[in-house]
């Protein structure tokens, strides 16, 4: 009898595991299989999304494995937030992004009813900088590759899904890559500072926090999101046009608090609030003399300063331009009374937010990793 069972039982290592590795393990873990055992055969037919699905033989093997009680001898270790996670995501992104047409799109954040819009920004050359201001010169010609850029600043509706896994609709184990991305600690104070949540821009996040949001959103959607470089940001802001004739028509500035995103007119690319409302993180380390020796991007070497762009509701018109550069500073965490200070919150930067880009060309895993991990999250 024992012999018979051994003969007929499906062998996990040689028969089941190769199928799971091929079709499922990039996104799911053992806890997920156990929870979904009633539906697993049906859902495997359509997994992975956009992939070839299971052939009849593999389907029968999995069916038998489920019927025999889902024996799973190997405990699969969760992923760590390191280069192996980025490699895992890179694989998913290359597969999922391959056939996307370069046009505007609207995306729902999986598991939620929150949407955002991405605008296709064609690549091109433009004059970057402004000779009239010391750190904005010299003006020079730059070329940028095509990318999508979020039409609006990231709102609390979006960012809070990242801050609070509990409201994100995520099930532990359902997507181990999403589970592995580092998430913000719970804030001690109310981070909108009473200025409004629904439809308002998220504020006061660190450069590290914005990078991790980008990675989290990439894990959720299978698209590669990151902060824009200063060059991409300025190109998108200028939209092949001169400064706006009437700043009031396009920008929130010189106010008592921030406003709903997208209230003012969009620029020539269809991007809202590039100027004003909240200044926006770029991926670049701030260097005063950066334009004397332009680089495509300036990876982080020190915790401060990083560059934010566009000015905010707190600024006067003179700083609310496509060329003005804002350098982050330790005083942006002044009200954080603890040491170490939080790596997630700039408690004193109430005019600081961000928006993401998605480059058309997906970089290699190592470069992707640098965009998501600035390596200088801690102040001291």
């Amino acid at each position: 009898m024992i012999l018979l069972l051994a003969l007929f039982a499906v062998d996990f290592q040689t028969e089941v595991k190769p199928i799971l590795d091929k079709q499922c393990n990039a996104c799911h873990d053992r806890a997920f299989y156990l929870r979904k055992k009633d539906k697993i055969v049906g859902s495997l037919a359509i997994m992975p999304p956009g992939g070839p699905g299971l052939n009849a033989r593999d389907k029968a093997t999995i069916g038998k494995w489920v019927a025999e009680g889902l024996e799973y001898p190997e405990v699969k270790k969760g992923l760590e937030d390191d280069l192996s996670l980025t490699r895992n995501l890179h694989g998913q992104i290359v597969k999922a992004s391959a056939k996307d047409a370069f046009r505007n799109y609207k995306q729902r954040i999986p598991g939620s009813d929150v949407n955002y819009e991405m605008v296709a920004v064609p690549g091109g050359t433009f004059k970057m900088g402004n000779n009239a201001v010391a750190d904005e010169g010299p003006e020079h010609e730059r070329e940028v590759e095509p990318f999508w850029m979020a039409a609006r600043e990231v709102t609390w509706n979006e960012y809070r899904l990242f801050m609070f896994a509990q409201i994100s609709g995520e099930e532990a184990g359902a997507n181990i890559a999403v589970d592995a991305v580092s998430r913000p600690t719970k804030p001690y104070v109310e981070m909108s500072f009473g200025m409004g949540i629904e439809g308002y821009p998220a504020i006061s996040m660190t450069h590290h926090a914005a990078n991790k949001y980008a990675q989290w959103l990439s894990a959720k959607t299978g698209h590669f999101y990151r902060l824009p470089t200063e060059a991409e940001w300025e190109y998108a802001c200028k939209a092949n046009a001169g400064p706006p004739e009437k700043l009031d028509e396009v920008a929130i500035y010189g106010k008592q608090q921030y406003e709903l995103v997208g209230k003012k007119a969009a620029n020539g690319f269809g991007l809202y609030d590039m100027l004003g409302n909240v200044m926006e993180w770029t991926t670049d380390q701030y260097q005063k003399e950066a334009y004397r020796n332009p680089q495509a991007w300036y990876p982080s070497k020190t915790p401060y300063p990083h560059t934010a762009r566009g000015g905010s509701w707190q600024d006067k018109a003179g700083r609310v331009t496509c060329t003005a550069r804002f350098a982050s500073d330790p005083s942006w965490k002044q009200q954080d009374p603890n040491l170490p200070k939080s790596i997630w919150y700039h408690t004193d930067a109430l005019g600081l937010g961000f928006r993401l880009v998605r480059p058309v060309k997906t970089p290699a895993p190592e470069e992707m990793h640098r965009f998501w991990n600035n390596g200088v999250a801690e102040d001291q």
Partner: protein, 409 residues
């Protein structure tokens, strides 16, 4: 920072202000860094904590920020629940008290007895017996000409200070009501009992998870919403209320711990004015930390936007803060160290005591469901600190209070 005049600097090269830190967690480390920035010749010479790892990581951080002012030899790192005595007994001038607040009264008493200047984090006690001890310590410090400066940081934040000056000068007439919100998520929720390491005593386990126990933390209302309670006290010129009624409970079950996760208190003041303070620590809720002060001739709103709004009943702005916000956490220490340098005495004890007791007042009204007068809470015999205190002994958890069943004592 208040720069010391050159002449004082020259005189004090050989006259450092020596600082001892009791409680080397995140807030204690932050306070130490601020103390070291508050005077050209302050230096950190002794540290106490229950964990050596905590001490070493704290000192590592401080050395990176404050450099050569961190002078703690290995022999001046003190471990355990009694280590505060060794720090205070060492050759220091100022002690920074930043442990969980349940331990504060005995530490403050010892510091004052030994003639040290004190910076004490808020709250200063978690029960009426503790408050009575602090009242005596404050008096004793005054008699000995020693400084006590507190961590009620809004009292040191220039934009809030100036707003309360405006209120006290009558810009919105007489204050009729004060509604304060402190709606946040859980601060440090209790971990599963299965994660308790073998051999760890009850006191050690409860201290490790101090936020969840009344005897160590005082409840979120006393530990955190006390910032709002302090602003209420300030608005009513630090005069006590007549009485209060409150309700509260625990919405989110947890394995161990005995604090509530929501409390709302209604205080009655002698002139008939009311103060309402609403506090909750529940995940996923609407968050807000604001103050709405209603006067006969206008209103003040704090916490809805970066600056307080002071307006009449038609919405016309009556006054606005102008200038740059200071760093209140730094300013607390600037005041303390500048007073020590000048040989002056600054003692903020009275108001820090009344604000802390005002919070305990509200909490006990919530825990018991009773209407409580100020006299009742002043004279309450409640003492939450374990007696006798044995770090290695057993300490059964006191059950969470049940309004209507838990008796006022």
């Amino acid at each position: 920072m208040i720069a010391a005049p050159a002449i004082i600097r020259a005189q004090t090269v050989t006259n450092a202000i020596k600082v001892g830190l009791v409680g080397a967690g995140g807030r204690g480390t932050g306070a130490a860094s601020q103390a070291l920035k508050a005077d050209d010749y302050s230096e950190l010479t002794a540290v106490a904590d229950v964990s050596l790892d905590q001490i070493n990581s704290s000192l590592g951080r401080l050395a990176r920020i404050n450099g050569g002012k961190v002078k703690v030899a290995d022999g001046n790192k003190y471990l355990g629940f009694e280590a505060y005595r060794q720090v205070i007994d060492s050759d220091i001038d100022v002690v920074l008290l930043a442990t969980p607040p349940g331990f504060r009264p005995v530490q403050l008493r010892y510091a004052v007895e030994k003639g040290k200047h004190v910076f004490t984090e808020k709250p200063m006690a978690v029960c009426p017996a503790g408050i009575r001890s602090v009242i005596e310590s404050v008096k004793m410090a005054r008699e000995k000409n020693k400084c006590i400066v507190d961590g009620f940081m809004w009292r040191y934040a220039n934009h809030i200070v100036q707003t309360f000056e405006q209120i006290h000068n009558g810009i919105i007439g007489d204050v009729l009501s004060y509604y304060a919100t402190y709606y946040t998520g859980p601060v440090k929720p209790m971990p599963a009992a299965s994660t308790r390491p073998a051999g760890m005593s009850d006191v050690e386990w409860q201290t490790k998870n101090w936020y969840n126990f009344v005897w160590t933390c005082g409840d979120g209302y006393v530990e955190q919403a006390v910032h709002s309670v302090d602003k209420v006290a300030w608005c009513f010129k630090d005069q006590p209320p007549v009485s209060c009624v409150a309700h509260g409970g625990r919405q989110i079950p947890q394995e161990g711990g005995n604090i509530f996760d929501h409390i709302e208190v209604n205080y009655l003041y002698p002139n008939g004015a009311r103060a309402f303070i609403a506090h909750r620590q529940i995940p996923g809720i609407y968050n807000e930390n604001a103050d709405y002060i209603l006067g006969t001739q206008g209103r003040v709103t704090i916490g809805r936007g970066p600056l307080p709004i002071v307006e009449d009943h038609k919405g016309k702005i009556l006054w606005q803060f102008e200038g740059t916000k200071n760093d209140g956490y730094q300013y607390e220490h600037d005041i303390l160290f500048s007073a020590i340098r000048k040989g002056e005495v600054v003692n903020k004890g009275d108001r820090m005591v009344s604000s802390t007791l005002l919070a305990i007042h509200g909490r006990q009204a919530a825990y018991t469901g009773a209407q409580l007068t100020w006299e009742q809470i002043q004279n309450s015999s409640l003492s939450t600190f374990p007696d006798p205190f044995d770090p290695k002994g057993s300490l059964p958890e006191v059950p969470t209070a049940k309004p209507g069943i838990t008796k006022f004592v």
